[in-house]
Symmetry: D2
Subunit: 360 residues, 4 copies
């Protein structure tokens, strides 16, 4: 590839888990060049102190983490064309405006721009919604928003629970009330997530001794922030309001997110029809629809940007099971951010992204 085709990119929050995964993925991407890394608490450290997996890697381990300052957006623009922005939700809303004004493309990893409506955001996040900017943002799930992503300047990377629920459910609901394969209400989404999703900060991270051998629900009864985001995107896909109950569970593993979704089948729905709808829906993108007899397993997507989706139908009770396994970092956050950038640039979805996970 000619040098002119390569993009210079920076990462704000490079010492966190999402940032470290971006480091790995960008390092393997043939068209991205990393020119700037920033972190809050570890500013001033060499990258290999903050993220020891970079030690000795030419052009990476010796980078120094800088303190990010949105007021110096013009300087940043001179150093890179794209910024992956991993800030707290409220800080992201503040910073993005200046960055966009300076001509940077912003791939935001927070929730700041995911919701289009303030009333779906403010009660869950407890601060003002950046509605104007949010309306300009493109929701960064390429399989659902491919056209809008072309040339996007502000990309809102989806939540990881949301991704794991949308990918298997959207194809079943997309034809609206009349043509959907499942009922659009009473959908139960039971997710099982590895603990890296909570991030690296000491307050968020769970100690090993209280994580291993422990499986537990949290934020039950619809109190998880990803609920309105799932409903927004499923409703968009369905064309009618969709209502879900999300119950996340914390699982003793580092990476991985499995969603088991229960929806009532409409009359005549078969499991083949579900699989066919998904195959047709995902002709492009990084989603594998598993064959009959195969079931998703977070083990098989670890380190990969591909999602594995499968369906089953229980004739006795009339439920469709829509299941999906992703790596919450390699796909759910960092990988998807790069996939969305790829698509926004007109590149293939998977360029520079690992599509075959570590096994074992």
């Amino acid at each position: 590839m000619a040098a002119s085709e390569s993009l210079r990119v920076g990462i704000v929050g490079a010492a966190g888990y999402t940032g470290a995964e971006l480091l790995r993925l960008i390092h393997g991407h043939p068209r991205l060049e990393l020119t700037y890394v920033a972190a809050r608490e570890r500013a001033g450290q060499k990258l290999d102190q903050a993220v020891p997996s970079t030690a000795g890697v030419a052009g990476l381990g010796d980078l120094v983490l800088e303190a990010f300052d949105a007021a110096r957006a013009a300087d940043l623009r001179a150093r890179c064309e794209v910024l992956f922005l991993g800030l707290p939700h409220e800080a992201s809303a503040g910073a993005a405006e200046a960055l966009l004004a300076a001509g940077l493309v912003v791939v935001d990893l927070s929730a700041a721009f995911r919701m289009t409506e303030a009333q779906s955001y403010e009660p869950w996040y407890g601060h003002r919604h950046a509605t104007t900017l949010a309306k300009q943002a493109v929701y960064g799930l390429p399989e659902l928003h491919r056209e809008e992503l072309a040339g996007a300047r502000l990309i809102a990377t989806p939540g990881c629970h949301v991704t794991s629920a949308l990918l298997p459910l959207a194809p079943l609901l997309r034809r609206g009330v009349a043509g959907a394969l499942v009922e659009h209400d009473g959908i139960v989404i039971d997710t099982k997530t590895g603990v890296s999703g909570a991030g690296r900060s000491p307050s968020a991270s769970k100690p090993y001794s209280e994580t291993a051998e422990g499986t537990r629900p949290y934020k039950v009864a619809g109190t998880h922030r990803h609920t309105p985001e799932i409903e927004q995107e499923l409703s968009r896909a369905a064309g009618v309001p969709v209502r879900v109950l999300l119950t996340p569970h914390l699982i003793p593993m580092t990476r991985g997110l499995l969603a088991t979704c229960y929806a009532r089948a409409r009359t005549g729905t078969t499991v083949e029809a579900c699989r066919e709808a998904a195959r047709s829906f995902y002709r492009e993108g990084l989603v594998t629809i598993l064959d009959e007899g195969q079931l998703p397993d977070t083990l098989f997507v670890r380190g990969s940007a591909r999602a594995h989706v499968a369906y089953a139908l229980d004739g006795r009770t009339g439920f469709v099971l829509a299941m999906c396994a992703i790596d919450n970092l390699a796909r759910g956050a960092s990988g998807q951010a790069i996939q969305a950038l790829n698509v926004s640039m007109g590149w293939p979805d998977g360029i520079g992204l690992p599509q075959i996970g570590l096994f074992p």
Copy 2:
């Protein structure tokens, strides 16, 4: 306790996971004395070769595993009063008759005697149901079958998925169609189980490298054998037929079973009513109803015979969440077998059983 009050017990299948847990629990039980251990493939080995955790424990590590032979039931009767029987389902059915005839009390750990009806058993297990014996057996969940257990000669220990589903759901359904707190159909049971539940045999056990970092569903769409057992027992409790969809998931942990059950709330049902119903239901036994704000976690029952149960209600979608965490061995199999024996003897449920788990 006077010597005359103690029971001599034996274990068939002492080298398996359920058997090893029985060894641990019986060793700590003040009224049980272990006098006989048998195993199939490891017959002839010293116990501390087969189960190295017994090495050096007086009266335990030096026992020799014998080959079990039901034809010598009378000899066995001379050595113990009670036999914990951990055989394959079909073998159990064959052996129990001879053992009972010789005057032994049999606590069976297989599925052979759990189902009262052949049509709920044969399609799932693929061999003839021992219907006559099964009708004499008492289902060994003391919290649901306390009266029948008194003096029982043949106890059918419940399946572990079943226990985790029955304990939180039974109190909500018990008053029948008219008085139940939730609807009796369309119940979704999403279980997350540690891998020790599959047992120690090489064919059943999962290699570490393909278990760690992997969460996956299995036997989906109502194909798990515990489905009819759950329906039998919930229907008994409810007084009307109950239908459920069970979706088990394998989790990267050794012990533990968490059930997240979704049932549609009846009009007027509150979460306090659910909690109150369960508190009242479990005045006796080894079930803790967690307070508001507490959620079950397999970490907190590891090594313990107590079950932790909690409830939540999602007003938006109308679902009651009924959740339960157990240790699949310390409660789900071995612990429950001893609890049932305790109750059958007129002893307190928890005698000799650990009620506070290892933390961490």
Copy 3:
């Protein structure tokens, strides 16, 4: 047991990992009655909030954690006879004097009283050594200090790395320079420890995502505080100065400590002689010397107060391998504290202590 034979005990630091293990062990101990629990940051909480494994356990979950105040030692004395003291090293030194003066027996879990000499303590811990009290304290490793423990009023519970190194090495060194089986210098101790040893405080505990799949040395080249403690105790056992190199490693597991010790064999030493020396040394106590062909495994001591010890000899290089597996909580800290108390009371070492671990 008559009520008069039972001891009332309290725990300071009941919400930490060592404290939680004490809760479990005391609850199963037939001669100890828990009457007082204290914690620093969680003072005021119900015990089942701080340690949810106690939820619903009669007489335990509803206890309220108090704020410990050594100045009120007399009040404490009215409530219990023995106090397990889990305070920071420096705080322990301060508190113990008042508690002893009030007539309490103190089983101290810190390092404050383990070292008899200030010069072996102060450089490592950075504050003044309580030399006077330390000289009255008995080092709480019953297998090495059985006689001194009789009637002890102040017991200094050993460090967990120390225990895992002393148990296999002491029998090889005990006869002094002339009769020892191995050379007394150049001993390499390579320990592998689960992460619960660092305790529950957020600053000490390691996040799951950075622990799983990671094995790493720490405090290398003799910089770990347990080095002088090991040398003190081995020198006592040997009767001559012993010098060791301790290299601890952090392993992705919650509990367990394995020590692999390398010592140069003296001429004529055989592995049988090592095993025989250990068997003879450990006629009393809670140490199992494994048979030929068996090797220690932390899996087989998890939850148990027994230590597993094994020996091997490499003829080619002349090294004796002395290996030991313990549970760092059930034996290394909490279990050993109770064992020492048992011995100080004239009770059998193992009363109330689990001697067969959880398998699996």
Copy 4:
């Protein structure tokens, strides 16, 4: 890269752990094209059945595993230029001759060709050594055998324990008896390995329930087969016979190998001199010498082909600690095989190899 520069490669043993890692690495390699996959027990299966992480990956998941037959070497040669040979040791010796004769380059993953002398092989492997072929083979550790690898036709990929010991020790010993930094005898190598090293076969793999929470030595007292291989290669590097004691330990993790090596420092040796010797030794290749204050951790090399090496010196006892962390698959087996092929082709060591691991 022009098509003419790309190599067509095949994998024998593609369904095993080493093979699956080769699939991942080859898929990301810009100059290798996978044209043939074979497996023994899974022959006939689609690759995504045997290795589900390949599902949906274009050109990979739909490949069919073939049965390997060395007699058809000429056919194979028409389909690929290079064969990665993952057969049992004895089978490899038999097959390689035919493959080489047909003009294939063989990168062998077994031990068949690692030892140059029959007497270092036959007692450990129990069958005849293929001495003639072995003398033609190049030992595939590029950092030690760079020149010999140029144009090699038969490459013997090193054992993983061996790699982890050679990389930190070779620079300290290379100057021979006169100039070495450490003594060449009495070297203790204490390795800690993840369980994937034993392979995928049911007989070799350890069940999760008996691996998690367990750390244990195995093949102690110099009985591990990698002992003569380490001695051969260290002796080559040192120019004098080197003797070591290897004690491997099994750690509850899937990937990763940490070697902690203890060697007696020669007079005047400093830790800086050790680090400097290694930096100079590893000017080329994929080895990072960690800075002072950094210690190796398998977590930070997971999925990466880089090795992390560090040194420490204990002045009190005179030991040098030489430590090394690798991923036993991404570096120890599969990654190193590709690195050696890269070097044999005159390509940079790291082309197509991930050099930054997954964190977390």
